[in-house]
């Protein structure tokens, strides 16, 4: 009996093993649930199926297959079948698997471009990037024309070749519930005693209502851009106004802001990064990567009341790049975050809970208004969040009605407030963070390569780019325009993001300076929020600066610790070989 039981167990275990091994075997006749059509040529496309999803790619696939249904790409076959692999692999994962992958075209993020190029992992696509797109109805235009100057300078190697095309944009910021703001009148009022057109900062702070409008039709303040009659009117123009807003929101029985507790370290760091980047502006931020230019915001000292005294502008070179860590943007960002977390009623209770994922935070934000439980006014996220939350939008519409659905609900991206009043009126600046790229596997066979190039080229036609933007409600990281008809198809949030993109400066974290190229991760702006205080290194802004902690570090101490850590000795020890 025992022998029989043992034999049976052995058989069961063997069967289980065979079944699990069988699962490893790819069915050659099915990819992503789609059966292979042997009469057509297959094109395998890998997509990072994260926040931006794959709906845009499914639409692209459908059009491409239709466009080329009568074209033969190999003998005996007509038409093409695009097979999508939605593995969520970033650049670092793909770099280790691409040479053995059957995927020919890749759309992903986290790509350190020159790592891919120098390892020979990606195909030379100079021909399609510089080719006239006339065959797609865009005569006189090339993909290269759609690159911004900073992108051209980076993606074009010194040998004059291209190996990738920028894919999606990724900015971090504050998303606000426009419906809630309108309902509760969370907008600042304009001071009618000053000329709004000539006075960038014109909030009527002492109007008897803490500076807020009394009625919806009251004239709103200029907002951070310092101009009347623009999309940011009434929004907090300064950090000070932002906290007045938080008090006002909280007093109205709402929760001012939430973010993911599980990923708070990363998200808070990106939030501080976004604030710092906006403070610095495009010109100053580029010094951070090129180590060329004149730094104008270097901190000399910080008073006990937080007043910053600046140094004289200083020329930055490879040899003294460390000086840039004294730039005031980081200080103001850290100080903002500390104030935000100094009052527990400013943020959602789960913003420090390690099980509160980013998608849970999105759901809390979306459901809080219809559920009428301390509605959350703002969410710190990246611009892809709305596409990522599409299931939550569908659920909420099913539960509470279509007015809460994705295309009805009004949620906007808030231009960040300025650190000080004198900064109001400066252009809003964002950092494109994700190093997202489209490229082709260098291991393609010659006939596969031709088809892959055609697909990548097709994906970057104006029609495809516009379709991508309408579908994801986020912009591509390229230069292009959107017509009114196309904008009308987007959600309120998508139009808000487009509006910001059209009116802001975008910093791309690129440089061909050898110091940067050889130390990209170490020198990423996001990485440079570590601080050394009394011999201890701190890298957890979210917790170390949390205003309610008794042992919190002050923003001033933390900032001075950043300067102490990224000092001359460290710079010379790390990068001296590239000084000349």
């Amino acid at each position: 009996m025992k022998k029989l039981a043992k034999s049976l167990l052995a058989i069961v275990l063997a069967v289980m093993m065979v079944v699990s091994l069988g699962a490893c075997n790819r069915d050659p006749n099915a990819v992503g649930g789609e059966t292979i059509i042997t009469s057509k040529t297959q094109l395998y496309v890998s997509n990072f199926n994260g926040g931006y999803g794959d709906e845009w790619l499914q639409k692209l696939k459908a059009r491409f297959e239709e466009e080329y249904k009568d074209t033969s790409f190999e003998e005996g076959k007509t038409g093409v079948q695009v097979l999508i692999d939605n593995a969520k692999d970033t650049g670092s994962a793909i770099s280790t698997t691409i040479s053995g992958s059957r995927n020919q075209v890749f759309f992903t993020e986290g790509v350190y471009y020159y790592d891919f190029v120098n390892q020979g992992l990606v195909a030379d696509i100079t021909d399609i990037v510089t080719e006239d797109l006339g065959k797609f109805g865009e005569a006189g235009v090339t993909i290269e024309d759609k690159f911004l100057p900073q992108q051209k300078g980076f993606y074009k190697t010194t040998a004059g070749k291209y190996f990738g095309v920028p894919h999606y944009s990724a900015y971090y910021g504050i998303m606000y519930d426009v419906d809630l703001f309108e309902e509760k009148r969370f907008y600042f009022a304009a001071d009618n005693k000053v000329d709004a057109a000539t006075t960038p900062y014109n909030t009527a702070i002492n109007n008897g209502n803490n500076g807020f409008i009394f009625e919806r039709d009251d004239v709103r303040s200029n907002g951070p851009d310092g101009k009347p009659g623009t999309f940011d009117d009434g929004l907090p123009a300064t950090y000070e106004e932002f906290f007045i807003l938080c008090d006002y929101i909280q007093g109205a029985g709402c929760t001012p802001i939430c973010w993911t507790g599980e990923h708070r370290q990363g998200y808070v760091q990106w939030f501080c990064q976004a604030l710092a980047v906006d403070y610095e502006g495009l010109e100053q931020m580029l010094i951070n990567y090129n180590f060329t230019g004149t730094a104008k915001n270097l901190v000399k000292s910080i008073g006990s009341d937080g007043t910053v005294t600046f140094e004289q502008p200083k020329a930055i070179t490879n040899a003294n790049g460390y000086e840039f860590y004294k730039s005031a943007g980081r200080y103001y960002a850290l100080d903002f975050y500390q104030k935000l977390t100094s009052n527990t009623s400013y943020y959602h209770s789960k913003s420090f809970n390690a099980t509160q994922s980013h998608m849970m935070a999105q759901q809390e934000f979306l459901f809080s208004k219809p559920e009428a439980v301390s509605p959350i006014a703002m969410l710190h996220e990246g611009i892809w969040w709305e596409n990522e939350a599409k299931d939550a939008f569908a659920d909420i519409a099913a539960q509470f009605g279509d007015e809460y659905g994705r295309n009805s609900r009004r949620i906007g991206m808030m231009p960040l407030p300025k650190a000080t009043k004198d900064k109001v009126g400066e252009t809003f600046t964002v950092l494109d963070t994700h190093n997202s790229l489209g490229f082709i596997n260098a291991n393609c066979e010659p006939d596969e390569l031709a088809l892959a190039k055609l697909f990548l080229q097709y994906a970057n036609t104006n029609e495809s780019i516009v379709e991508y933007t309408v579908t994801t409600n986020t912009p591509k990281a390229l230069q292009y325009t959107m017509g009114e008809t196309d904008l009308a198809k987007m959600s309120y949030f998508g139009r808000s993001v487009w509006n910001i993109r059209e009116n802001c400066d975008i910093v791309y974290p690129f440089s061909t300076n050898p110091i940067f190229v050889n130390n990209q991760q170490a020198l990423s702006y996001n990485s440079m929020f570590e601080s050394t205080i009394n011999g201890t290194t701190f890298n957890q802004i979210a917790d170390d600066l949390r205003g309610t902690r008794s042992d919190r570090k002050t923003s001033k101490d933390y900032f001075m610790g950043i300067i102490a850590k990224y000092n001359k000795s460290w710079w010379e020890a790390s990068f001296s070989k590239w000084f000349n």
Binding site: S92, Y112, Y114, D115, V117, N118, Q119, G120, T157, T158, A159, K161, F163, G261, E262, H263, Q265, G266, Q269, F352, N353, A354, T355, T512, P514, V517, N518, N519, Q520, Q521, A522, E530, T532, G535, T536, T537, F538, N539, Q540, D543, D544, R549, A573
Partner: protein
């Protein structure tokens, strides 16, 4: 003639056996050569080079730099905050694992081996973390310490507390506890297996002499499973510099620098790209040079001075 046929038959059979034996070994040997010898040889070569990016796209620039990488690694280990912390954390993780992991695992194994009440239950519950995927396990653990624990404290003791991971004062200890709990299962299984192979006649004889359970554990069980225990202790020492403490599963690349271990540091720097490989390679080689003799010495001492079967 008959004898000759028999001898020929035996030779053929032996040859067939040898062919089968080598065929079975061929793939593992090839894998060993490629994924161990070649990889480690390349790693050794890398530790004497630097890699720079060529912005013409022509490939990386490799340069021989002698022992510069090692000097840099030593400098960093003595001065860089996270590496200084790594030394303490890696040692502490091993020590805590030894005292609070290995010792209780031995006692639990003995309890299960003696078939005391609920032994089967303990066997399953303690081994379960080793079966479930690490990411799922961390998620379950997080839900407990972040949601269940505060709820329990509020319900039972009327105390409002933060989750153990949300509270920076308890975060690291929580991660350590998770590591100890996770390590239980594998140890229990191995020790239990070793205990089950103890001859019953020896145990019966001891019982006839009136031995108590504690005496049985120290005088019979422990000496007889000592080789298994030595294997675990020695491999534990070898693993000091590679133990990540599940930090990446908990925090991805955003762990507090004061929690770093050498394993976590090296993993993060490998992710940073090819230009970091020489730095990590030289660190790995340096640690091998340090830990290899310690491991061999530990094995020698444990075998020489450990309890003897006699």
């Amino acid at each position: 003639m008959e004898k000759l046929i028999k001898v020929k038959g035996m030779n053929r059979r032996r040859r067939a056996e040898k062919v089968f034996y080598w065929m079975m070994l061929a793939l593992p040997l090839l894998q060993f050569c490629v994924f161990y010898i070649v990889v480690n040889f390349n790693s050794i070569l890398l530790s004497f080079q630097t890699i720079e990016t060529d912005i013409s796209g022509g490939g990386y620039i490799y340069s021989w730099v002698g022992f510069e990488n090692f000097a840099e690694v030593i400098r960093l280990c003595l001065n860089e905050y996270e590496l200084v912390c790594s030394f303490g954390n890696s040692m502490m993780a091993y020590g805590i694992g030894l005292v609070f992991g290995t010792a209780p695992a031995l006692l639990f194994s003995f309890y299960i081996y003696k078939k005391y009440p609920l032994g089967g239950f303990f066997k399953i519950v303690l081994f379960l973390p080793s079966l479930i995927s690490a990411v799922a396990m961390v998620l379950i653990f997080k839900y407990f310490v972040e949601n269940a624990y505060p709820a329990i404290m509020e319900t039972l003791f009327n105390m409002k507390v933060e989750g153990l991971l949300a509270n920076p004062d308890t975060t690291f200890a929580t991660v350590i506890i998770y590591g100890v709990w996770l390590g239980f299962g594998g140890g229990i299984l191995m020790y239990l297996g070793a205990m089950n192979s103890i001859s019953e006649s020896v145990v019966e004889a001891a019982h006839l002499d009136g031995i108590t359970p504690m005496k049985e554990f120290f005088k019979i069980t422990l000496p007889l499973i000592w080789p298994t225990l030595v294997t675990f202790l020695v491999t534990g020492i070898a693993g000091i510099f590679t133990n990540q403490l599940s930090l990446f599963t908990f925090f991805q690349d955003k762990a507090n620098k004061s929690y770093y271990t050498y394993g976590y540091y090296m993993f993060l720097h490998t992710k940073a790209g090819m230009t970091e490989y020489p730095h990590v390679a030289s660190m790995g080689l340096l640690m091998t040079i340090i830990v290899a003799p310690i491991t061999l010495l530990a094995r020698y001492l444990l075998e020489k001075f450990g309890p003897s079967v006699d």
